[in-house]
Symmetry: D3
Subunit: 238 residues, 6 copies
């Protein structure tokens, strides 16, 4: 009885469209249902000061939400003069997730800056962002290989993310906003193509939740990510 009439283990319609920005080395417009995130991957031949001269590269991410991406207009962070704690938490998560599958030595002394901007939000923006960011980053690094800048592919594995939660006492996959607002528990799983854990965040929203419930969420995430990995490969034409 999900508001969207999905079964508990059903993703929303997901699309991953590359090449949506004329200037970026890589880009991807990712949608999970009504959630839409525009991701660009920019390659810069420079590094933050603390990393210079170590023979390795870096991947970092920033996240933002257009003020009217949401049901009611939110304050523009640039006008407020700072990024919220939520924004910082999300962009740190995206960066960590991508770095987990990149060989920084193979990347060389350059930086990939990922920008994830939420055009429209209906739940699951951070997991959509991670899933799309991997595609944008892979596009950018493909481009660098095609240009002869990179000799080897620094990407070690795929990474994708999906949310799961306990909604009306039922574990379900890929919460939309209506479910998310009313879930008893909410979690985000970031997994690699080979099935390893990159990151798990799980929170009891209305009550604590049991280890049995958690295990069921984990299983949903594993099958959801398997679908996402296939879509990522298809988006890149593999």
């Amino acid at each position: 009885m999900r508001p969207s009439d999905r079964t508990p283990e059903q993703l929303r319609p997901v699309t991953l469209e590359i090449g949506v920005n004329r200037y970026a080395e890589g880009s991807c417009l990712v949608s999970f249902g009504h959630t839409k995130v525009l991701v660009t991957a920019s390659v810069e031949e420079s590094l933050p000061p603390w990393l210079r001269g170590k023979g390795q590269g870096w991947v970092t991410a920033e996240y933002g939400m257009l003020p009217r991406a949401t049901h009611t207009r939110g304050r523009r962070e640039a006008a407020a003069g700072k990024q919220s704690g939520r924004t910082q938490e999300i962009q740190r998560l995206i960066g960590r997730s991508l770095r987990a599958v990149v060989d920084m030595k193979a990347l060389g002394e350059r930086q990939v800056l990922i920008d994830c901007d939420v055009i429209q939000a209906d739940g699951g923006t951070r997991t959509a962002a991670i899933t799309g960011a991997w595609v944008a980053m892979a596009s950018a690094l493909n481009y660098l290989k095609d240009e002869g800048v990179l000799k080897t592919d620094p990407i070690l594995d795929q990474v994708a993310a999906v949310s799961c939660g306990v909604f009306m006492d039922t574990p379900v996959l890929d919460l939309d906003y209506e479910e998310d607002s009313n879930a008893e528990a909410d979690s985000n799983f970031v997994l690699t193509g080979s099935g390893d854990i990159v990151e798990i965040q799980a929170t009891g929203e209305k009550r604590g939740f049991s280890r049995a419930e958690f295990d069921r969420l984990f299983g949903l995430a594993e099958s959801g990510c398997a679908e996402l990995f296939a879509m990522q490969r298809a988006a890149l034409g593999r």
Copy 2:
């Protein structure tokens, strides 16, 4: 001999697409060639403190640019902790331009907040934003009339904007980035449907320019805006 092979008096292909945001009362995705601006118009039943209880409404605008809207990635203003002088200058211009054609008494004690976010930038983002913002605002106010919230239309006239400049000693309409970067003079005209001036900004970039050149730019802007007014009406189905 424009880089884009246009004649001096030729606009780039312009599109104005409404209804592009699921939540906003009005929205418009405007493109002038490769320049793309996503505009939303949000209606709030509240006013800034200094306007409360005066029996009138308000229209205001904010402007932003995604970090990789440009050829090289720019710094995210939310991360930098402030909006640049350029951003503030542009959003003040957009707000003034729209307020010039709205009857604030007829709007009543509510506020229209316009968000103009540049998805991709190839010159002329502020004039594209104004042109699209009028469409988004008109959509939002149409919606309020349809809902019975407004009895009369508070919009007094159309407003549109276009840039003109002196490029290689020739006055031309609607500069793209390549022209803009090399123009001797650069100007933005904001005009009403009835032909009045809302705002003129003209700047000599490499040299001062003559009053005769200015008059020619003005003429180009008048004919360019006439085209834009027709497209605005078409976008709204009038």
Copy 3:
């Protein structure tokens, strides 16, 4: 093979000392080995604006670290002019963890502000902070009951937290700084006295890690928290 000679399932020496601040309604100095966090719980008869008049209370937390709590001096956040993303992430976690075990209606229209200041850091500051914060909060609410301000105890359950990680391919409990810096995976578990999950955060630091490893970390956390719950009760004289 742990640098501290502990067995994999062994906590560091933990102390929880209440009444360490002369003014606060509740306070606790918590230490996990060399990690020391001073926690105060301040009760204010006021609420943030968005909660007023709803017949319920609120619990929130702030976190800070003295500049020389760490091996090398860190920048003072007040001088830097903002709290880091890490700080915000941690204080949001502490607040959520405590709110999960408080009946906000029973608390009434008042606020408990928890301040967690790290005096010395040797890994696990956020989990030590949560474990001590529950004690400080319970002390403060006991005091309110003794004063007759509260009729019933708004605390529904205990909450404690502990870190676990995969160090040299072995899952171990309660990482110190040396382990934390070299762990393959790092996780924080926040559990209730009745065994439910309040929050799980697990991150692969050097590599993804397997579901089997995760399950082992979860088991270590459950036994570690069981010890902590007993110490919390002892600190309160129960």
Copy 4:
């Protein structure tokens, strides 16, 4: 029928006094009626990072207003922690206006920093600032020539500015505060000694205004600037 009993084409009494600051390489106290702006031109043998090593100089400006320069006290921007959008817009305009008449190669690798501080404001502060800033800058560069630091004069032409507006349906020159607050249209013209346009900003305040009105404002500005150019030369003893 101007509140000040001036004819439509009449400037307020204008004074330009040089040498008013003991330390600055150049300075000018400019007054347009009750509007008084203290301008200093500081020469620094350094450049902003993005200009270094290009064999050219730079001119930039900052603008401020003393809190009680106005009828009612305004907030001190240093205490507010940021410059308003209006301030930034004005200081960018002043900088552009001066750079339009300076040969940056002839200036050499040094910087002229113009500070315009409004001591008392009665309308037209930005145009007074530009007019006085040219005098302060010319004084400073004269000094550098006298000292033998500069071989040639980097100043290519004079630049001055004046406001015009439509007040009670009549185009008038050099608005004071009372006129400015009630004008139907408001404009600022920045012109060179040879009659070229450096910058035009024109805004309909209460209504759009016609091209015929604009042309009349332009004519007033041309004659007003002609008077100002003579006064600038007189102030420098030319």
Copy 5:
């Protein structure tokens, strides 16, 4: 052997000119030699929130320095985004000094805001500011009495300030910049017309200094302030 050829107990030429701002309720341009501070006193019929409804008024001060008030240009605090520690220290001192001689009950529920802006700095700006601020405040309150807003004079006494220091082992009065930069000890005395101490700040700059030296500085300050009190009365026409 003072650089300015003054005797140890000699003030620089001091002027106090009132009525220098057209809008402020009171104003004073104070100069101590080349040090010039423009002070305005603004009366507002409002109070900071924490003082409302207590049947008393408030006096507060802000201090600023024009960027080129000094030998080399300093950074504009509004552009830097914050007031320096030095600025805050000085404006707190000015406020305390004035409040010491005002009967807040007699002032009534209104606020006097003192703005001290240093036009040119040659040492002793804070003491010049205090001395001139008392005159500006007295002018403003005289005006309120003349207008019938105040029944009684809320000013209880005069207050003036002067710096003294040990320069080349000699205690001297009223340091200029050259002396101040090389003094062994530096002090500021704020005294009342009746000879009481409002504030003393004394600092050993190059070495500690003896109580005997301090006592000599105190004596110089007492005689210097006596001269200043007479000038303050003269400036007000008393």
Copy 6:
């Protein structure tokens, strides 16, 4: 009749405990009655840019207060986004006081950063901080000498500080919070072991105060500091 039953010339119980931080080169927990300040001295082999390459070192200090150090909880400065004027004033005073007794050449090109964090506040936090900071700094420099990093002791003398005030018309030593809140005059004296003045700050809080009262305060400070110097030496085992 002091609230604490002390005689006018009696200090509160003072303790100075070194070695309280595991990582800092020097540390001291200082208490004056219920006032407790944790001081660390961190040595860094780097200097601020303006001091590099001059063959000398630097000593600087930062000050903070835990939010619930006080009777009612104060706002966390890191969350507020800036240090208050009071905080900046105090940390500047601490830095100046310590620098007065250090030979910067003998220190060499390194920096001692003093952090003074108030754990609990009952009046006199800045004077306690200075007194403890000298001990922490001396410990750190002893450590550097023991390690052979320093050949000679850069400390020229002791420095200590104490507050005095006029309470109920009686000059008293070492004000606690209750006295401080009600004192007619308040002063802080920073003196060297050889009896010289490093800094005096004296303020009339409720009224101006006389030179005779001031002289009595000075005498109390001299005897109080004599006691503190002995305790500093004892804390260091001298």
